[in-house]
Each structure stands twice: as structure tokens, then as C-alpha cells.
């Protein structure tokens, strides 16, 4: 092995994962509220395009990110209104939007293909960047990376430590019961779809203004939306586990590179495709633990049960099912 700088690699993982982190946190919030927004892949691309376009024309990164967030929220609004208020299949609407937004991005973004535009610069934290180990690992990134880490913490705090987060989880579990307690499930779902969508939009901006600056076809973010969806499931809908999943994904990406030469008999595709089999595995685990026989067996082995409980996530119970009032 070359003198691969482990710290630098980890710092790279931290940075490389930042858009995925934003997208997965957004989708986690949305799904925790019981709504499934399948349009991520298209949303990210369209937001990336718009972010670049706006940042380029207005010469302002801030406006670019704002536009990206708005695009994300706008698309989520369509899914939310159709899925929550009109009772249409969330999966169908999200899926159509995925395909459509992607093409819309290519169509409208064509004139902006591969031109120079503004991009985020590293913003070392004064003082902290000089810390011996942590400095290069944590404090020499762009604003985006700090933001992504902050978003993880905030998402966790929001979901588990605030009243709104509690209500949001409640709605995702049992909208009828939430309604009985004076919460408006539809409004709450829509609002969090917007919030989640905005974060997904920011992820798009993070690509075109940060990680893979510029617009073009391909942009390089194609497929990331699906990966993000897979990671949310892999992380069992818990923001910290999901974030871990995002970092694991980025790490696998990096790991695939040296492995090319260390272990050439492993097909390169294995590492790229990994998130998907892992997602299926996570779901399988979830499904199997709900089987009677397995459950009984696990009940007889408390340690196994504990282990299962800790790794298995649980989908919000009302996920994807629109709420209707009696």
C-alpha cells in the first residue's frame, strides 16, 4: 500500500458524502412523517442544474443554494399534495417526477453545459484547523461539509428532542391517533415533505456548486437519488444510522479504488453496486424478524433478540399510506 494518508482519506469521505448526507436526511424526515418521496433522483439533478444556473447568472452561491432548495421543495410539494391531499399513489407520482425532472434538467440546462461557474471554496476554521489530527480531518472543509454534519445533528435533535419532531414521528406511525390528539396529519406531512424536499434540493446544489462543480450531461450525480433512498432504508430510518450509511457508502467508493490494484480479481462493479444489495439485506432482515418462527426463536435467545433489535430499523408504520379522516 502506498503511504495512503488515512486521515486524508477519512476527510475525503466526510466531504464526498456531504450531498448524500443532505439528501438522506431530507428523505428520512419525509419518510418519518409517513410520506415516501421517490423523486429523489430527478430532484437532485434538477436542483443541481437550477442551482448552477442561478449561481452562474446571479453570481451568488447563496442564491444558487436557495434556488436548489426551492426546486426540491417544489417537487416535494407535488408529491405531497398529490399523495397526501389527493390520495394518489405516492410511489407513482414520485416515480414519474423522477424521470421527468431528470429530462427537464437536461433540456433546460443544455446551454449551461460545462461552463465555468462559481463554486464553494474550502473554509478552514481559524484556530481549529491547526489541531494536530482533527484539524485536517474536520476543519479544513467547505461550508457544505460543516453544514452536512450540522444537518445530521439537527435532524436527530429535531426528530427526537423537539415537540415538532415528536409530532412528525407520531404522524408517521399512526396518523389517526395523531389526529385524535389535535394534530393535523396532512398539514404536517406536507410541511415535512417540503422541508425534506428542500434538503434534497440542497443536495443537488451541493453537487453542482461543490463536489462536482458545474453542469453537464452527465453531471455525475445521476443515480445518487436512488442510492440515497437505499441508504435511508439501510439506516433503518434513524438519522444517525442513515448518516453512518451515507459515510459507509462514500467509504466503499474510496475503498474500491485501492482494491483495484490490491485485489484485481474482484470486479470493480462490486463496490459501486454495494449499497443496493446492502439495502435489500437490511430489508430482508427486517422482513424475516417479523416472521413468527424466527421471532419465537429470537425470543428464546435474549441476546439474539437484543442484537436483532439494535441493527434492525423499522419503517414508519403509516409510510406510503395516505391518511383519510373519518
Amino acid at each position: 500500500m502506498d503511504d495512503l494518508n488515512v486521515l486524508a482519506v477519512l476527510a475525503g469521505v466526510l466531504a464526498g458524502a456531504s450531498p448524500i448526507v443532505l439528501a438522506t436526511m431530507g428523505e428520512t424526515i419525509t419518510e418519518k412523517a409517513g410520506l415516501i418521496n421517490l423523486s429523489l433522483d430527478g430532484t437532485i439533478l434538477l436542483a443541481a442544474m437550477v442551482a448552477f444556473l442561478v449561481a452562474h447568472d446571479a453570481g451568488s452561491l447563496g442564491l444558487g443554494f436557495l434556488a436548489a432548495a426551492l426546486v426540491g421543495a417544489g417537487i416535494a410539494a407535488v408529491v405531497g399534495i398529490a399523495g397526501v391531499y389527493m390520495g394518489q399513489s405516492q410511489v407513482a407520482v414520485g416515480f414519474v417526477l423522477t424521470l421527468m425532472c431528470r429530462d427537464l434538467a437536461y433540456f433546460l440546462g443544455n446551454p449551461y453545459s460545462r461552463i465555468q461557474g462559481p463554486r464553494l471554496a474550502p473554509l478552514p476554521v481559524p484556530g481549529l484547523e491547526r489541531l494536530p489530527l482533527l484539524g485536517s480531518l474536520l476543519f479544513r472543509h467547505s461550508l457544505l461539509v460543516y453544514l452536512s454534519v450540522a444537518v445530521i445533528a439537527t435532524t436527530w435533535w429535531y426528530l427526537y428532542r423537539t415537540r415538532w419532531g415528536l409530532e412528525l414521528r407520531a404522524v408517521g406511525e399512526n396518523p389517526q391517533a395523531a389526529h385524535a390528539r389535535g394534530i393535523d396529519p396532512k398539514r404536517l406531512q406536507l410541511l415535512h415533505a417540503l422541508l425534506g424536499g428542500a434538503l434534497v434540493g440542497l443536495a443537488g446544489g451541493a453537487f453542482s456548486l461543490g463536489i462536482k462543480p458545474g453542469w453537464g450531461r452527465p453531471q455525475g450525480a445521476e443515480g445518487m437519488g436512488w442510492i440515497a433512498l437505499a441508504i435511508v432504508i439501510f439506516g433503518g430510518w434513524h438519522p444517525l444510522k442513515v448518516a453512518l450509511g451515507a459515510y459507509l457508502f462514500a467509504f466503499l467508493q474510496v475503498l474500491g479504488i485501492p482494491l483495484q490494484s490490491w485485489w484485481p480479481s474482484v470486479p470493480a462493479q462490486v463496490f459501486q453496486v454495494a449499497p443496493f444489495p446492502l439495502m435489500i439485506l437490511a430489508l430482508l432482515l427486517l422482513g424475516l424478524t417479523q416472521k413468527d418462527t424466527l421471532q419465537r426463536w429470537a425470543d428464546a435467545h435474549p441476546r439474539v433478540r437484543k442484537l436483532l433489535r439494535s441493527i434492525q430499523g423499522r419503517a414508519p408504520r403509516a409510510l406510503g399510506r395516505p391518511y383519510r379522516q373519518e
Partner: protein
């Protein structure tokens, strides 16, 4: 109504992009059906799209969201390629092609059954299983093309070494489209119509899709029927993949599935899950895809517009449906 909304939407996008609205619409039409050669090209797209859509009808009937068609097409193509590679020097090209069809369909069916088993046995939502398997299938194709099946020396995007011409389904020069492919597609359409409308299997699929627990009490086996639906859908997708290999590209290429699996989902949604509309909507979508090539050629516009039009149409229809059923206040159809 739908058409009007979409027309306005598309025109708005065109204005936004600064394109001549009328000319674009005109070009899309002439570019698709302006000559026999273009029509033949449309039919080439129509064939796999219709096959995939037919397959999706089985799974939608039973209430499954089979998003894994892409992967099933790919596995069909892989299966067919495997046979054709083995039968490279065969003296009986007809038999080899026949075997390729069978193995291709099997490949698609098995890939679909994998998602089906994950669903019925493992409780894995078919959407995520299918999606994941799509990516795995794509990885598999790339691995084969750049690895064990690479062209001597030049592993490249252009795929595996082309098959000997004797192993192509023939395309008469004047036809420009393989009669075999057209024939098989028509057979698939007819068979699907027959199975769905006139056989116990079709009825059982609808019954389980409508109400699994009632169907169980009627003596049906929902799990097994789901596997049947997945298997049939996969076989048809596999057939599409096989034809992509044997008729269109004459080799395995990375983009062999050409997004038809995803597009077929849109076709079936727009057809409101009805078989009778599928061939026409598939034709319309194929025509859009082919017609849109004129956009860069003549107007220097990006041809992704066709995808936008397709998406906008389906989205509009979904929203109008939701709106109507919301007004009616009752929803019992699945």
C-alpha cells in the same frame, strides 16, 4: 383535456427555453412518422416497450409495483447472449436463436422471481428489491462486458463482439424491422389479452390484487400467484432483452435495457392499467423518442424534451385521476 394541459405545459417550457413552439411540435410528428424508415425506427422502440408493458400488466393486476423491469430486460439479454456465444459456430442457427429466446425469457423470469421471492418469503418491498436488482444487473452487465465477455483486446462501451450474422434475426432490407420481433410482440399482446381476460390465472391475479385475504378464502394462493405474475412479467421483459440483443444490437451492450423498463411503467400508468391502450400509448411514446431526434438535428434543441412530455402526460393523468376520485368520494378500484 390531458392533452391540452400538457400542450400548454410543454409550450411554456419551450418558451422558457426560447424555442419555436410550433416548429417543435411539427418536427416531433414528421420525425416519427414522416417516412417508412422513421416508422420502422418507431416500431423498433415499440417492440420492447410493448413487451415490457405487457409484463407489467400482470404485476399491476396483482397489485405489485414491479419497478425491476430494467434488470429483467438486462438478464434476458445476458441469458440470450450466453446462448449465442456458446452457439457461435453452430450449424443450426435457428435452433441456437430459439434456445436464446427461451434462455433469455428464463433469465428475465428468474430475476423477477428473485424480487418476487424476496417479497413473498422475505417481506421485502418489491419496489426496493426491484430497484436494487436493477443496479445489480447493470453491474453484472458491465462486469461481463469489461471482463469475461470482453472483445478480444478492446473491451469497450460498444459491448461484446457482434454475433455472426447467421445468429441475427433477419431484417429484410425493405422492412427495416425484424418480422420476428414484430410477430413475437403481437403474439405477446394477444397472449396477454387472452390470459388476462379469459383464463383463470388472469382472474386470480385480479382477485388477489383486489383483495388478497378474500382471495385466500376462495382457495387462491396469493403468494404463489404473485410469483406467477412476477415470473410472467420477467419472462416478457427477458424477451424484450433477448430481442434487443438478437434484433437491434446483435451483441450485448451496457445500455441494453435502454430505460424501456422505466418507460414501460409510465406507459402502463398512462394506459390506466388497461391492455387495450398499451400498444397505442407505447407507440406514442416510441414516436416521441424517435421524433425528438430531429430536435438537435434541425433546431439544435436538446432531445430530452420527449422525456419531459412523457412525464408531464403521465403526471397530469395521475393528478386528474386523483382529483376526480377525490370528488367522487369513493375509491374501490385498485
Amino acid at each position: 383535456m390531458v392533452a391540452a394541459i400538457v400542450l400548454v405545459f410543454i409550450s411554456a417550457i419551450l418558451v422558457l427555453a426560447g424555442a419555436p413552439v410550433l416548429e417543435v411540435h411539427g418536427l416531433l410528428v414528421t420525425g416519427a412518422v414522416g417516412s417508412w424508415s422513421k416508422l420502422a425506427q418507431v416500431l423498433r422502440v415499440w417492440v420492447p416497450l410493448t413487451l415490457c408493458s405487457c409484463g407489467l400488466l400482470y404485476t399491476f393486476q396483482i397489485g405489485l409495483w414491479n419497478i425491476g423491469v430494467e434488470g429483467q430486460v438486462m438478464l434476458g439479454a445476458i441469458g440470450a447472449t450466453a446462448v449465442l456465444r456458446l452457439g457461435f459456430d453452430s450449424a443450426l442457427p435457428g435452433a441456437v436463436l430459439g434456445a436464446a429466446l427461451v434462455v433469455g425469457m428464463l433469465g428475465g423470469a428468474l430475476w423477477a422471481l428473485l424480487a418476487g421471492l424476496l417479497k413473498t418469503w422475505g417481506g421485502v418491498n418489491e419496489i426496493f428489491a426491484g430497484l436494487g436488482l436493477n443496479f445489480v444487473a447493470q453491474g453484472l452487465i458491465l462486469w461481463l462486458i469489461f471482463g469475461p465477455w470482453r472483445r478480444p483486446g478492446v473491451a469497450s462501451m460498444s459491448g461484446t463482439e457482434p454475433f455472426a450474422e447467421s445468429l441475427w434475426f433477419p431484417t429484410p432490407a425493405v422492412w427495416r424491422i425484424s418480422p420476428h420481433a414484430l410477430g413475437l410482440t403481437l403474439v405477446a399482446l394477444a397472449a396477454t389479452a387472452l390470459v388476462l381476460r379469459h383464463t383463470r390465472l388472469g382472474l386470480a391475479l385480479r382477485a388477489v390484487g383486489g383483495n388478497p385475504s378474500a382471495s385466500y378464502l376462495f382457495g387462491l394462493k396469493p403468494g404463489r400467484l404473485m410469483l406467477w405474475a412476477m415470473g410472467l412479467a420477467g419472462a416478457l421483459a427477458g424477451l424484450a432483452g433477448t430481442l434487443q440483443v438478437t434484433v437491434v444490437y446483435h451483441r450485448l451492450i451496457p445500455a441494453i435495457s435502454s430505460n424501456y423498463g422505466y418507460l414501460a411503467l409510465l406507459v402502463v400508468m398512462l394506459a390506466d392499467y388497461r391492455l387495450s391502450w398499451v400498444p397505442f400509448i407505447a407507440f406514442f411514446f416510441a414516436a416521441l423518442n424517435v421524433g425528438s431526434i430531429q430536435l438537435p438535428l434541425v433546431l439544435q434543441l436538446d432531445s430530452s424534451l420527449s422525456g419531459v412530455i412523457q412525464g408531464a402526460l403521465v403526471l397530469t393523468v395521475l393528478l386528474i385521476h386523483a382529483w376526480n376520485s377525490g370528488k367522487a368520494g369513493t375509491r374501490w378500484t385498485t
